[in-house]
Symmetry: C2
Subunit: 212 residues, 2 copies
């Protein structure tokens, strides 16, 4: 395949898109949207968000070193967009959106109860980068809509109707997986059959070579 060179921006896609809530020392809350986020460590559980220093949320989070990641569902795509475009310096976005806010349990931040998943975080380190600074944070608690939990305590993400972000557009998560961690090396015949049905690999060559 012929390749074209492309410089000057990060073209890692798709990425998550989440709403971040924070509260300053005066008790004022704000919300804004970030796509520059990711999981960075399994134990202790850690994630990062990147924030432009001119953002109001930068001030709030730097002051308290706490924030909450609110993962939106597809129903909240307009709200997610709006909170990334409009500044909290001029608009009370939480009020405008009509969000129901709950108190966090391990931080002094409120979270958006309307979002299916909320992740409370405490900032450990802020690293200056350029247009954005990197906030490295530990996850101290999560809140999940109870109707997403199965009887075994597993989270059914497929019911959450999540979004991702790709090159400036919001996409609904696809509902049908095409593989599972470890499915390429499964040796148990019954499990292989189960995966073949679930992931549509039945009758397909399992060889990696010449598969392109």
């Amino acid at each position: 395949m012929k390749k074209t060179q492309f410089k000057g921006s990060v073209i890692l896609n798709p990425v998550p898109v989440v709403m971040i809530t924070s509260k300053n020392l005066k008790g004022e809350s704000n919300v804004f949207t970030v796509a520059w986020t990711g999981t960075i460590c399994t134990k202790p559980p850690m994630l990062s968000i990147s924030i432009r220093p001119e953002r109001l949320s930068y001030e709030y989070i730097e002051e308290t070193m706490e924030f909450i990641v609110n993962i939106p569902s597809q129903k909240q795509v307009r709200e997610t967009d709006y909170c990334g475009v409009v500044t909290g310096r001029k608009n009370n976005k939480i009020k405008e959106m009509g969000f129901t806010m709950n108190k966090g349990s391990e931080t002094n931040v409120d979270y958006i109860a309307d979002c299916p998943i909320n992740i409370e975080c405490k900032v450990k380190q802020i690293i200056k980068l350029g247009t954005h600074d990197l906030f490295i944070a530990e996850v101290v608690q999560s809140h999940v809509n109870t109707n997403l939990m199965d009887e075994k305590g597993k989270i059914c993400f497929e019911k959450a109707e999540l979004i991702n972000y790709c090159h400036g557009e919001y996409f609904p998560m696809n509902e049908t997986p095409i593989g599972k961690f470890g499915f390429s090396v499964v040796k148990n015949k019954n499990l292989e059959k189960e995966y073949d049905i679930k992931y549509g690999t039945k009758g397909k060559s399992k060889k990696f070579f010449n598969k392109k």
Copy 2:
């Protein structure tokens, strides 16, 4: 909505899933898969990946401070999984996968030409976290399949058939967007009509309140 508390892991989903190539000072190449990655800065363009210190790729990348992010298409979901499960200490994964490798232009690392997008990176900082360490890197070049570029030099990601990763499963990217950055505040009537058709918001209330 009633909430259930959940502790001990990062439930940020969906996230990207990519194959990382690297080359040690002896000239040996390796590939492994990471989902703990994200964009962290717009200018300079930067991204991060998190790596377990016991990984062979950790050694290679620490030695040369370079790596390439290879974004797989849906055709490479089995390869993506395999490279995340099997260690380069025992298997020559690049050979096993039958990958076609191209030389990077700004690094001494080779990239997987079969992947639609490849991002060359130079590591600026390694931050010790826990099970994983965070590699903060600057993007120095990207290579994109020429058939993904339109006549204006824009990348058509929708043609790349990308994957994302959610709670242990691989999902194909949905093809139909439900919104675009800034669509919630558009004031131009013609543009609003265009968005209404494209994003299925025609005839729907544009009010944020009472939309749940």
